[in-house]
Symmetry: C2
Subunit: 236 residues, 2 copies
DNA sequence: TATAATAGTTAGGTTAGTCTAACAAAATTA
DNA sequence: TAATTTTGTTAGACTAACCTAACTATTATA
């Protein structure tokens, strides 16, 4: 049985290596930063996780999850996202409130609980932030690679998820009038600082590049959760 | 913010002092036994809880909860019992499965979660074991004092709760054909070892005194959760 | 009431997870 | 490629929660 802390390290490792396609390994500093601990602390834990054969790790080398390590991590993410969905759908939490509580709930040990929760929610595919929920077999579909920042002026897209789950960011998203499944039209894009002018439900707003990089989109022709179809795709 | 461990000590203290009316204080060994730790460990923790003004404690003296300590403890029990009810009513857990998982869930910190859960369950008064759920104000009604062992031969009663929440005991209760709200008739009682012969739904079974002491009952004239009315009461 | 039994405490040690400070390796860049 | 910057490791220390062994206080009993 793993401790909460060990679980958090595995989860952070998976999240780092899932962030983008190219990167398949993590570094000590990066890991430490993700967990809000000092690099020295991460080094200690990495040795421990290596002994337990949950990570592949050598001194000064890159860090990757082993197959069992990855399986654990996926399970934690599955639980996290199921709980978020539960809080949102069944208990009326707002999408900026769910993350913090799910951080606690993801560590509850009970296979039956996870299975029943999944069933109660009717086997959801996405959490309130648009992230894919790994299924009971631990299969996790490929995530979206395009962000609002990649969309050219004049083109339209549909928001499907967010990259940043912080309360601050999520509340700002709502303030700008955005939400999952909204259609967004990029009116213009400043060449100097990539400031975007976007239109959502007829309302025009300006958003920074930093903001746009945290909004995941597909082109409006594409299904939520599916890769863009190459022929008609409006993005990139 | 209290640690899981601190919360468990407070909960155990409340449970010990709630067990029966007379006893309003706990001892170190008793507390240690309840938590499956050594008495030395309990002593250490008691000093810490005293510093935090959650318990009244002096070397070699009896242990009681302070008002804030008791408030904390009641809140944990409230959460435990709400989660048990959730698992039972909403997720189809059996009554012997809920305790273990609720032991974990009771430590989740989120006032909103507790409130919403309470609402989802329609503000339940009792958990699946018949125990009273303290309300949002932390009010906890007096528990039942009569057990099946107190009922005389020839008299009838109604089961309202169990004292022992272990899987073993609960599965045995089911095997004997018993459950919350069942009417039980005591056919006979051995004077030598207090072995009881009981009838439930027309089926007769023998149960030991130890067993009977863990079944909480009211007389059949009495409402569940209310004290027996003196005039008609069949018990004692 | 003296003694034995029980209950409770203290001292010193362990492990998990964290830290800081000093150092070493690797990567970048001039 | 040599110097500098970045990244990662080691050593030593701390706290929470636990332990054992030895001791002390309280309670029960002969």
């Amino acid at each position: 049985m793993l401790s909460f802390t060990e679980e958090n390290y595995l989860k952070a490792l998976l999240q780092i290596t899932m962030e983008n396609e190219e990167k398949s390994a993590a570094g000590t500093n990066e890991l430490a930063a993700a967990l809000n601990v000092k690099p020295a602390t991460a080094t200690d834990m990495l040795k421990k996780l290596k002994d337990k054969e949950l990570v592949d790790y050598q001194k000064y080398g890159k860090i990757t999850l082993t197959t069992p390590g990855r399986k654990h991590a996926v399970e934690i993410i599955r639980k996290h996202r199921l709980w978020e969905t539960f809080l949102y759908k069944k208990l009326g939490f707002t999408w900026d409130e769910v993350h913090e509580v799910a951080e606690q709930l993801e560590h509850i040990q009970s296979q039956k609980l996870v299975d029943k929760l999944d069933q109660l929610l009717d086997f959801p595919e996405f959490d309130p932030h648009g992230d894919i929920i790994p299924n009971a077999k631990g299969e996790i579909k490929v995530s979206f690679k395009k962000t609002l920042a990649d969309v050219d002026a004049g083109k339209s897209c549909k928001m499907v998820a967010v990259k940043d789950n912080s309360v601050n960011f999520l509340q700002y998203v709502v303030k700008v009038g955005l939400g999952i499944n909204n259609d967004i039209k990029v009116i213009s894009k400043e060449s100097y600082d990539s400031l975007l002018s976007i239109e959502v439900n007829g309302i025009v707003n300006s958003v920074s590049q930093k903001f746009a990089q945290n909004i995941l989109v597909v082109c409006s022709f594409c299904e939520v959760g599916k890769a863009c179809s190459k022929t008609k795709c409006e993005i990139k």
